[in-house]
């Protein structure tokens, strides 16, 4: 009787422990991403002009001109004479408090920006002289760590300003990837050994969640259990797709847990930073072979309203 009682209390105790964990997820705060172990930005976000796209931590900043047109944001052509003065364009593009806070968070280090260059860009050339054209200013800012040292990420960032002098905000994507190693390539006896690729080919599950300005005030907020369910469902679908890929049939994963994350996003009326909240639904590879390093977490990003990141495997073998 006594023993039974003890066991019961014990099990109750452990049950309540897990319940507490489930109620208060930890905060996601390691924003570093190892760029050597990643697919290229172009593979993750193929629709944007390459030289205008950059990544800081887990956030990709990009411009998607085709998308502007789809959304009816097409810029008005102007004559060169009525283009906004360069000084105004530079001022409009200057990194503000929010952008700086986001950059500092993603790089884990305080950064400062110096104006470097303003390029006049002809976005869509009509070929006629003295005609109204689609001009933009491309402003190049040099990014420097305040306290010196080396920082991950690009040294320069580019910001676009339209002909009327308004900043064109970047599209922002929250991403994550993890490297999976495929078995050794089979040797093709016909192929010249010189051109044979060495090393094990990689495959990257990749999560990409487009963040919108409006996400800061979602229409609904789902419960953590509902978020977890959506994240796991989407992940399972991606794993199914992964298993359909040649030689990738045997990868196995386990669910690790839920975390919360917040990104500096806007200023409120009092001039304080407001944060965008997102959920990190984390998974980990169950490794069948012994590896030097423990498997990294893979995060499926889910918005508060339940919008799940776009998930897809990127196969290194698809590169030509």
């Amino acid at each position: 009787m006594n023993l039974k009682c003890l066991l019961l209390t014990l099990s109750l105790f452990t049950a309540s422990e897990t319940a507490v964990v489930a109620q208060a997820p930890t905060e996601f705060n390691d924003w570093k991403l190892n760029s050597d172990q990643m697919p290229s930005l172009y593979e993750i976000e193929p629709n944007t002009p390459y030289d205008l796209t950059f990544r800081l931590g887990h956030v990709i900043f990009a411009y998607e001109p085709d998308d502007w047109q789809r959304r009816g944001l097409k810029q008005k052509p102007v004559k060169l004479e009525s283009l906004v003065r360069v000084g105004k364009a530079v001022t409009a593009s200057e990194p503000d408090v929010i952008f700086r806070a986001l950059v500092d968070q993603q790089l884990g280090q305080k950064q400062t920006f110096q104006f470097q260059k303003a390029n006049l860009v002809l976005w869509d050339d009509s070929g006629e002289e003295d005609q109204a054209e689609l001009y933009l200013w491309e402003i190049v800012w040099k990014k420097l760590p305040v306290y010196g040292g080396l920082v991950e990420g690009p040294e320069q960032i580019k910001v676009l300003v339209d002909a009327q002098g308004s900043l064109i905000p970047h599209d922002r994507y929250l991403i994550d990837t993890v490297t999976l190693l495929l078995p050794e390539r089979e040797i093709d006896p016909e192929q010249n050994p010189r051109y044979r690729k060495t090393g094990r080919p990689r495959i990257w599950p990749c999560a990409k969640l487009k963040l919108e300005a409006s996400d800061i005030r979602p229409e609904k907020r789902l419960s953590p259990s509902e978020i977890e369910k959506r994240g796991r469902q989407a992940f399972d679908k991606m794993v199914e797709r992964l298993h359909g890929i040649y030689k990738a049939e045997s990868f196995q994963f386990r669910y690790v847990g839920l975390q919360t994350a917040k990104l500096p996003w806007s200023l409120n009326a009092e001039g304080q930073i407001e944060y965008l909240h997102v959920w990190a639904v984390n998974f980990q590879e169950v490794q069948t072979e012994k590896m030097k390093t423990p498997p990294e977490l893979f995060t499926v990003w889910v918005k508060e309203d339940g919008t799940v990141a776009d998930l897809r495997p990127i196969d290194e073998r698809d590169r030509n």
Partner: protein
């Protein structure tokens, strides 16, 4: 009758070139067309023109458009505030290459080219201030491509002053025996007072050119045991470089003579087609002649 028919045919064939087809230009003088896209291996702008700014200076064939570093790096006085920087439209209008520059460049190019603006950038430079850089790219008048892009880089201060580059006509020659570059660099500028200037005869020009070239050859280091390369005089002819459009709308030219020398091949060597040009101005001033070792 047959003769007349043949004659007619001849006229029809010959007419377009003989009777001034406006689309056909005369061939580029070989003195001007020697190097098309580079100065020659191992040679940089800075070696030919010490103190030239590498970021903005350009060569188009044997023509060099060079900005002295001293002027490019000159501080804006007083400094111009970012909001007061001259508008880009003004900058592009002020730097549009005029007829004289287009003609000067086309003297070196075949086919004829025209300029189009390929972009303008405001560059922020520490200690100097803001500078506009405008890229004027050359493309053939009648379409097609002339290979790698050839451009003229215009530089304008934040206050709107166009920084004028120096123009040079240059030649470089390498002799296998010498392992050295022979260089000839002539600064192109209009004579200050054309009337008072003394003009030398062609023979005097040729003599000056020969004498200067002999002096240059004396400085050539010869590999011990090897025979020094021998040169012979080839020819001498004048070129008129259009440098400015005058008030009357006509070009103002600088006339200079190219005195050409050809290497005499050794008994076991093939004929050498290449030659070296010593430039001599009408008043007898000889182009800067110097030797640049290949290894440097």
């Amino acid at each position: 009758m047959r003769k007349i028919a043949l004659l007619m045919l001849f006229i029809v064939v010959a007419a377009p070139s003989a009777w001034g087809d406006p689309y056909r230009k005369k061939d580029v003088d070989p003195m001007l067309s020697r190097w098309m896209f580079f100065l020659g291996p191992n040679l940089s702008v800075a070696e030919l023109i010490p103190g030239a700014d590498l970021k903005t200076s350009r060569t188009i064939g044997t023509l060099m458009i060079a900005y002295p570093e001293r002027i490019i790096n000159e501080e804006d006085a007083p400094p111009v505030d970012l909001k007061d920087v001259v508008p880009v439209a003004t900058v592009i209008r002020r730097t549009k290459p005029d007829k004289a520059l287009t003609a000067l460049i086309n003297l070196h190019l075949d086919p004829d080219c025209h300029f189009s603006c390929q972009g303008a950038s405001l560059v922020s430079r520490k200690h100097i201030g803001y500078r506009w850089h405008v890229a004027w790219e050359l493309s053939p008048n009648y379409g097609g491509s002339s290979g790698p892009p050839v451009e003229y880089r215009a530089v304008v201060t934040a206050g709107g002053k166009v920084i004028t580059p120096d123009f040079y006509q240059f030649d470089t020659y390498i002799s296998r025996e010498h392992k050295q570059w022979l260089c000839s660099i002539l600064k192109l500028k209009l004579p200050e007072n054309q009337q008072e200037q003394k003009m030398l005869s062609q023979q005097q020009i040729e003599e000056r050119g020969r004498a200067a070239f002999q002096e240059l050859l004396k400085q050539v280091k010869v590999t011990p045991g090897a025979d020094p390369a021998q040169f012979e005089f080839q020819d001498c002819r004048a070129i008129e470089f259009p440098l400015r459009v005058g008030a009357d709308g006509k070009f103002q030219y600088m006339k200079a003579w190219g005195v050409n020398f050809k290497e005499i091949p050794g008994s076991d060597e093939k004929k050498i087609e290449d030659f070296f040009t010593v430039w001599v101005m009408e008043d007898g001033t000889v182009s800067e002649l110097k030797i640049i070792p290949i290894d440097s």
